[in-house]
Subunit: 225 residues, 2 copies
DNA sequence: TCTGGCGCCCTTCCATACAAGAATGGCATT
DNA sequence: AATGCCATTCTTGTATGGAAGGGCGCCAGA
């Protein structure tokens, strides 16, 4: 925990504490199982306990913290079941999305997606994992936008944080080459207006995450329930 | 707002306030657009502002309240876009569920579902709308359980509250007969182990909600954005 | 040595006081 | 009559002190 002096903006203190803590949790600066307390964090950021408490409540609702009344507050360990179910939800939605996109194809769609893949290849060549994953997220978000349900993507953002923690642990591991190849298959199916092929490619793409999860669990057993 | 003296249990005051307020909102005792304040609710329940404030935060995260800093807190109006997107998510997941259930059929599945439909018919004959909708929810939840993703159902419960408010407004309107007939089609497809037919039936079942939504918007325009 | 009880310390939870922004209505000025 | 300013009074946001409860270790007794 580096974390000194959250930069002051016009937002409320509570909001800034939420952002700071969430970032620390996703980047594993705060590890699953770590015990924190209101006064602890309050002292660390030089604020009172009240806004910290409110931050705890919000993060607990997002599934990142576990408040044990009168006992303590801990960074929630990652639940393999929760991760799989979150992925089930994501897969359900993404399959529906890719069907729509492939079902009503436009030249724009394929173009935009192709360009994104090119960027990803550049990031991969430069070994810039962070940027690669940012572009990966953008790829999927773009599909949602093309399907006209970008707003729905925001709704599942909460669940996605569970997946993000796992992904952060696999930053150096995941094979970017393979992901790119899979993305190409998806775009290809979209260009051909073949919903079934698109669905198959998307399922394969998402299924690979299962392998990564299992490896990550054995690499960091303490971080999981 | 009837609402006196929330019954005391061992839970925290904040939790009880959350439950009470959420119930008031979903049952339209608190109407979309109503302005409430921390001290208002605090006085009404005879507690201090603090737990009420925490309840507001939690309900705001669930999309039921809108906290306008330093200004006021209002019961959020229902967003037609949000409702449609929530339904999109639900439809995506339910289609995936029904495919799985129909894909790996069991005698139990059809039996349990058939029994639930019988109960629904009884409730419909008795004109018990509340019970009918409770059974309706149980029907879909059972499908999730049969697909082995009951936990995922919990994850979308938050989004479902948006739909619940609309559904409450349509309590006397919705044609229970039709819903029952659609449920029968679904079970039939499951019994025949026909995923495609099951999917079609499920989509039709969920699509009918769109009509209800449009009618509800014109019936209660003030409750929507 | 083992076991049960008691007290201390830690936590979250609640209450209260104060601070600061925002809206509204009255009043003065033009 | 219209308009701009200012004070009053709401609201939510923050700080702080104490209350209530759970965990843990020391200590006494068997």
């Amino acid at each position: 925990m580096a974390a000194a002096a959250l930069e002051h903006s016009k937002e409320t203190i509570a909001s800034r504490v939420v952002d700071a803590l969430r970032d620390d949790i996703i980047t594993m600066a705060l590890k699953p199982g770590d015990v924190i307390s209101e006064s602890d964090i309050a002292g660390r950021y030089g604020v009172s306990r009240q806004p910290v408490r409110e931050a705890f409540i919000r993060l607990a609702q997002q599934g990142l913290l576990l408040i044990r009344p009168k006992r303590a507050t801990v960074v929630k360990k990652i639940s393999p079941i929760g991760v799989r179910q979150s992925r089930f939800i994501r897969e359900s939605i993404e399959v529906e999305i890719i069907r729509r996109v492939a079902g009503q194809p436009s030249d724009d769609a394929a173009d935009v997606l192709t360009r994104l893949i090119a960027d990803q290849e550049a990031a991969s060549d430069a070994n810039d994992s962070r940027r690669f994953h940012t572009l990966d997220e953008l790829f999927h978000r773009t599909l949602a936008r093309l399907a006209g349900v970008e707003y729905a993507w925001q709704l599942i953002d909460d669940h996605k944080m569970q997946l993000d923690r796992v992904r952060y642990l696999t930053l150096g591991v995941s094979s970017t080459q393979r992901a790119i190849a899979e993305h190409k298959q998806i775009v290809e199916a979209v260009a051909k207006a073949d919903p079934t092929a698109a669905e198959t490619a998307m399922r394969a793409h998402l299924a690979r995450a299962e392998l990564l999860l299992n490896q990550t669990i054995s690499d960091f057993p303490d971080y999981f329930e």
